[in-house]
């Protein structure tokens, strides 16, 4: 059984055992606008919670994607090399960004569930 958590940086992490798949939320892609480039900066590296792991560039500007929890970045979504626009069209499924192992599962408890995240973005609007 997997479970999805959300960060205040507008990322989601789907967790199955000690493995997490991370992506950006629909709200994040709306805010970023048309994404034209994405690259991983910390592949196969150990990262701490809130370290930057990847960069996405929209027509507007460059933005970092952060690790929602501490762990090791083990995989990057190659699809984004050739089709970064997938981050706009399907950010919660085929547009996932990276996979990571999770060092400290207790950090997940500081993230939000979907209901709490939806409330969080409502307050931002």
């Amino acid at each position: 059984m997997s479970k999805i958590y959300f960060s205040k940086e507008h990322e989601w992490i789907e967790v199955e055992d000690d493995l997490g798949t991370v992506g950006i939320t629909l709200y994040a892609q709306e805010q970023l606008g048309d994404i034209v480039f994405a690259e991983v900066t910390k592949l196969k590296e150990k990262v701490l919670r809130n370290d930057d792991v990847a960069v996405v560039e929209s027509v507007k500007a460059a933005s970092d994607i952060f690790a929602p929890v501490s762990g090791t970045v083990i995989e990057w979504n190659d699809l984004l090399d050739d089709a970064p626009e997938t981050l706009n069209s399907d950010p919660t499924k085929s547009g996932w960004v990276f996979k990571m192992t999770i060092d400290a599962p207790e950090e997940l408890q500081e993230l939000m569930d979907e209901a709490a995240y939806n409330k969080f973005i409502e307050e931002l609007k």
Partner: protein, 366 residues
Amino acid sequence: MPQIKLDKTPLEMFHKEHGATMVEFAGYSMPLQYQLGIKGEHLHTRSKSGLFDVSHMGQIRLTGVNVLKDLESLVPSDLEGLEVGAMRYTVFTNESGGILDDLIVTRGDGYALLVLNAASKAAGLELLQENLDCEIELMNDSALLALQGPASVKILNELVPGVDKLFFLQSAEFTFLGSPITVSRSGYTGEDGFEVSISTSDVRKFVEILLNDPDVGLVGLGARDALRLEAGLCLYGQDLSKEVTPVEASLSWVISKRRREEGNFPGFELIKEQLVNGIKKCRVGISPIGKAPARGGCEIFADGGRKIGSITSGGYSPTLERPIAMGYVEEAFSKIGTEVLLSVRGKYLPAKVADLPFVSPKYFRK
């Protein structure tokens, strides 16, 4: 920190009603983008017609007998030779030849119209007041719109008959609902298009009529920036500043033949010296080879690791679907095709010096 109150254009409410994301730009609340988004707005402008509110820019009217002759004391271009209705792009220079602002001058009958950058409006006004002996009016009661793209001429001509007779960089008076408006065939996108100076009380009605045409789409500052970069046009504060002369900015063409001989503008000696003996750095186009955009501030290196310049404007070109940029490099590296390296997030990415503009202009020339 104190909250700074932003200036608003007369279309502030209109932008919000049309779903704009508003941002601060040069002290103004301005639309960054509407719901279509930067890329969509950009491509719409290139294929149909984009409508821009540029009322933040400084519209100044100078009235006096010798107004163009006097104005020549501040710029290196030939203004006296302009016919009535003709427009010219030029720059204000300082005593060391640096660029204080870039502007468009239009010769009217007994007056001149200037359009200055929003951020340099106050300084420009001061410069004019200190140096010119004529009536100087900041046209706060006039909005400024741009309608840009291939469908613009047909659309605007239906609303303002006769604008199709204008050529690129020509301006004339027309009427809208019985009130005078000034329409020029000009813009900041590289497209055929128009700029319309209209009273703040009529501007909303005017844009609403234009928007009834399905080929007209609203375009924000985000797309405007990418459009002008594709067209190789400079943004003051990024690509132009007090630190560069028109020669270094690859704008020597604004310095007319007569003015090169006569001088009588600030910084003439230094600029003349550069025209004769050459320059150390100059503005060029830069094409990154890969997919990563290189933004303003990114440093440029020669093979071997020596810094030779930096990017002043850069981003993604929706038309070409690849990154484009412009910046300054040492003169020895300015030849088109020269291979350089761009430092992006600690990596050196290959790039080539490129010809400007990136996208060929569609100006309607005589």
